[in-house]
C-alpha cells in the first residue's frame, strides 16, 4: 500500500512566524470576480441553510424562494456595508445531493444572484459549492462506486459546469471507525481512521473532484475533517471527552486534510476545517476559518484564535430564521464584515501581526484546543509533520499526534495553557498508545482489526 501523492509537501511553505498571518499567503487564489484570496484582505464567507422544513418536489419552490431571499438580502447588506468582496458557500443539505436537480437549481439561483449583485452594486462575490458526501448513506459505506457515488458526482459535475468558482466537500472516509474512536477516546483508532483510511479515501475522492474541476472553469478548494475533529470539539465542549484528546484529534486530522492539496486543491480550504492553519503553513494556500461569528452554528473554545491566520472568515452556517433585526443570514453577514473590517484595518496600518497575536493570546491559554491553533505552535508541529512526509501519511499522522501531545504537555507544564486536572493523565495515556503503532499502515490495520466493528466498515472499500 503506497501513498499516491501527486504533489508532496516536504517542507513548510511558511516557516517563519513573521510570514504567518491572516489575509495573505504565498499562493493566493484569484476568483473570476477579481477577488484575490490570500492577497492581503480577509473576506467574509457566508453559509446558510433552510429553516425546519421538508424538501421534496412539492416544497422545492418554497426552498428556492427562501434561498433567493437569503442570497439577495445578504448580498445587499454586504454592498451597503461596502464589503470589498464576499464568498458564498452553498453547503448542500442531503436532499440536494440525493436529488442533484434540486441542488443544481439552488446553485444556479446563487450564481444568478451573485451576478445580479455585481451588476446592481458592483459587489464582488464568489461561490463555493459543497455537496454532501453521500457515500455513508450505504451502511457500511460504499466508497468508490454505486448509486450514491454517481449521484454525488453528478452534482459536482453540474455545479462546476454551471459556473461555481470552488468545489469542496467534507469527506467521510474512515468516519465509520472514527465515531467509535471518539466515544472511547481511543487515539490509535483515531489515527487509523484518519491517518490511514481517511487519507486513502481522500486520494481516490479528490483525484476525481480535481478532474471535474479541470474539465470546467472551476477550482478545487479543499476538504474538512468536520465529522472527525469538529465532532470531537463538540463532544469535548459538552464535557463528554477530554479537551486534550479533542486537541490532539484536531492535529491528527492535518495529514488527512492535506491530501486534498496533494491532489491539487488550491484553497481556500473549508471554513470548518480548523486544521486550516496547519494546511496554510504546509501548503502556502489560503484558508477559510470560523470562530466566534460561527457561534450560531456551534459553540467553541477557539472563537478568536481561529482567526489568526485565516484568509476568509466564515459563519459556518445559520438557518433562515427571523431575529429581532432581520433574518439570521443577514445578521451573520453583518457580523462577519465587521470582523473582517477590524482585521483589515490592522493590516492597513501594518499592525496585522500584533492583531494576530492578540487573537491568539485571548484564547490560547484557556484550552488545549485553542493552544494548538496558536500560530507558533502550529508552525512547530507543522515542521514535525512535513519531516515525516517521505515516510507517508501514517508517519505524518503519528508525527502530528506526537507533536500535539508534546506541545500540550509542555504548555501545561510551563503554565502556558490551562488544563483540566485529568488532562495530563490522558495525554500520557495517548503517548503510550501511540508508541505501540507500527510504521507500516497495513500492519497497523491488521493490529487494530480485532477492535473494529466490521459490521460498520468494509476494508476493501479502502483497498485494504
Amino acid at each position: 500500500m503506497e501513498d499516491k501523492m501527486k504533489k508532496t509537501f516536504n517542507k513548510l511553505a511558511i516557516s517563519k512566524l513573521d510570514d504567518f498571518v491572516y489575509g495573505s499567503c504565498p499562493n493566493p487564489v484569484t476568483t473570476k470576480s477579481g477577488m484575490v484570496i490570500g492577497g492581503g484582505l480577509v473576506y467574509p464567507e457566508l453559509n446558510f441553510t433552510l429553516p425546519g422544513m421538508d424538501v421534496n418536489d412539492a416544497t422545492m419552490d418554497k426552498a428556492a424562494r427562501i434561498y433567493t431571499d437569503i442570497i439577495t438580502t445578504s448580498l445587499q447588506r454586504a454592498a451597503e456595508l461596502k464589503s470589498p468582496g464576499v464568498l458564498i458557500e452553498f453547503e448542500t443539505i442531503p436532499d440536494f445531493t440525493e436529488v442533484p436537480a434540486y441542488g443544481r437549481r439552488i446553485n444556479q439561483i446563487l450564481i444568478d444572484e451573485i451576478k445580479a449583485a455585481a451588476d446592481k452594486y458592483g459587489l464582488k462575490a464568489t461561490l463555493r459549492t459543497t455537496p454532501n458526501d453521500l457515500r455513508e448513506m450505504s451502511r457500511p459505506p460504499v466508497m468508490r462506486g454505486g448509486k450514491y457515488w454517481d449521484t454525488m458526482l453528478e452534482l459536482f459535475n453540474n455545479c462546476a459546469k454551471d459556473g461555481t468558482d470552488f468545489l469542496s466537500i467534507e469527506s467521510t472516509g474512515g468516519k465509520e471507525i472514527h465515531d467509535d474512536a471518539l466515544v472511547k477516546a481511543d487515539i490509535r483508532k483515531s489515527i487509523l481512521a484518519m491517518g490511514v483510511l481517511g487519507c486513502i479515501d481522500m486520494e481516490f475522492l479528490w483525484a476525481e473532484i480535481v478532474k471535474i474541476c479541470d474539465a470546467h472553469d472551476c477550482l478545487p478548494a479543499g476538504d474538512s475533517a468536520c465529522g472527525f475533529a469538529n465532532t470531537a470539539m463538540v463532544l469535548a465542549e459538552k464535557g463528554f471527552i477530554p479537551r486534550s484528546f479533542a486537541a490532539v484529534v484536531r492535529v491528527v486530522a492535518v495529514p488527512r486534510s492535506l491530501v486534498a492539496f496533494e491532489q491539487g486543491c488550491v484553497g481556500p480550504d473549508k471554513d470548518c476545517a480548523y486544521e486550516g492553519p496547519y494546511l496554510k503553513a504546509i501548503t502556502g494556500c489560503p484558508i477559510s476559518m470560523e470562530g466566534k461569528t460561527a457561534a450560531p452554528a456551534h459553540m467553541s473554545p477557539v472563537g478568536n484564535v481561529a482567526a489568526c491566520v485565516c484568509d476568509v472568515w466564515s459563519n459556518e452556517s445559520i438557518q433562515q430564521v427571523l431575529l429581532l433585526s432581520g433574518m439570521a443570514p443577514v445578521v451573520g453577514m453583518e457580523q462577519l464584515i465587521y470582523d473582517c473590517r477590524l482585521m483589515n484595518a490592522a493590516t492597513a496600518k501594518g499592525q496585522q501581526f500584533m492583531m494576530r497575536d492578540l487573537l491568539s493570546d485571548s484564547d490560547a491559554s484557556l484550552d488545549p484546543q485553542a493552544y494548538v491553533l496558536s500560530p507558533e505552535v502550529v508552525l512547530r508541529i507543522s515542521a514535525e509533520i512535513v519531516k515525516a512526509t517521505p515516510d507517508g501519511h501514517l508517519a505524518m499522522t503519528i508525527a502530528a499526534a506526537r507533536g500535539a501531545i508534546e506541545e500540550i504537555k509542555a504548555g501545561i507544564t510551563s503554565g502556558k495553557v490551562q488544563a483540566d486536572k485529568r488532562d495530563m493523565k490522558w495525554l500520557d495515556k495517548m503517548s503510550r498508545q501511540i508508541d505501540t503503532i507500527p510504521n507500516d499502515p497495513h500492519e497497523f490495520y491488521k493490529m487494530m482489526e480485532p477492535e473494529l466493528d466490521l459490521t460498520t466498515f468494509t476494508a476493501s472499500e479502502y483497498g485494504l
Binding site: P51, M53, P94, R139, V183, K238, G239, F240, I241, Q319
Partner: protein, 212 residues
C-alpha cells in the same frame, strides 16, 4: 475477602481486567447472585451516572464502567433465572429518515442501556414504516427519535403520523431530541417528551415509565 463494595468500585473505575476475579470470589463465597448484581454491579453504575452528569466522568470512562459491569454479569447471569433479571423497560431508538447522524444516538443508547433499560437500536436513516413495523415486532415502551438537521426534523411528524396510521401510536411513548429540536417541537409533532442530551434522556425515560 472480596466485598460487594469492591465490585462497585471496579465498575466505577472501569476495571475491566479486575472485575471478574472479585466477582468470582464472591460467587465462591456463596454471595447471593442477585446481591452481586444489585448491590455490586448496578450499584456501581448508579454511582457512575451522576458523576457523568456533573462532568466528573468522561464518556469513555462511562463506557469502560459499562463494559466492566457486563464482564461481571457474564459470570453471574448463568447463576440466576432469566425471570429474575428485570429491565426498567424497553426503549427503541432511531435517527429519522434522511438523517445519518449516529454518534449522539449511540451515546444515548449507551447511557440508557447502562441505566438498566433494554434498548433496540434501529440505526440511522430509519424510514417511517420501519419504525412502525419495529414497534409491532418489539413492542417497546418508549420510542426515541433523533434528528440533527432542520430538513429532517419534520420527519418526526410524518413518523408519528405513520404510527397513528399503523395503529401503534397509543401503545408507546414517543420522545425526541437533537440539535434543531426545541422543547416546543414536542407538541408540533405530537410526541410525548423532549430530551436535551443523553443524561437528561435517562431521566426523561424514568419519568415516562413512571407515568405508564
Amino acid at each position: 475477602m472480596a466485598t460487594l463494595e469492591q465490585v462497585s468500585q471496579c465498575v466505577v473505575d472501569g476495571d475491566v481486567a479486575g472485575v471478574q476475579g472479585i466477582v468470582k470470589q464472591l460467587i465462591d463465597a456463596k454471595t447471593p447472585p442477585m446481591d452481586i448484581i444489585n448491590k455490586g454491579l448496578v450499584a456501581g453504575m448508579n454511582i457512575v451516572a451522576p458523576l457523568f452528569k456533573s462532568g466528573e466522568m468522561f464518556v469513555p470512562e462511562v463506557m469502560e464502567s459499562a463494559e466492566t459491569m457486563n464482564k461481571g454479569m457474564e459470570l453471574v447471569k448463568p447463576l440466576i433465572l432469566d425471570t429474575d433479571m428485570t429491565t426498567k423497560g424497553k426503549i427503541m431508538i432511531g435517527t429519522v429518515n434522511g438523517d445519518l447522524h449516529d454518534i449522539g444516538k449511540n451515546l444515548l443508547i449507551m447511557m440508557i442501556e447502562s441505566s438498566g433499560y433494554t434498548v433496540i437500536d434501529l440505526g440511522v436513516d430509519v424510514k417511517e414504516e420501519t419504525f412502525v413495523s419495529a414497534i409491532k415486532e418489539h413492542q417497546p415502551d418508549i420510542v426515541g427519535m433523533s434528528s440533527m438537521l432542520t430538513t429532517t426534523m419534520m420527519k418526526m411528524e410524518s413518523t408519528v403520523a405513520e404510527m397513528v396510521k399503523g395503529g401503534v401510536r397509543d401503545k408507546v411513548k414517543v420522545i425526541i431530541g437533537g440539535a434543531p429540536i426545541s422543547p416546543d417541537f414536542v407538541d408540533e409533532v405530537k410526541a410525548d417528551g423532549y430530551a436535551e442530551d443523553a443524561s437528561t434522556a435517562v431521566e426523561l425515560c424514568d419519568r415516562m415509565m413512571a407515568s405508564i
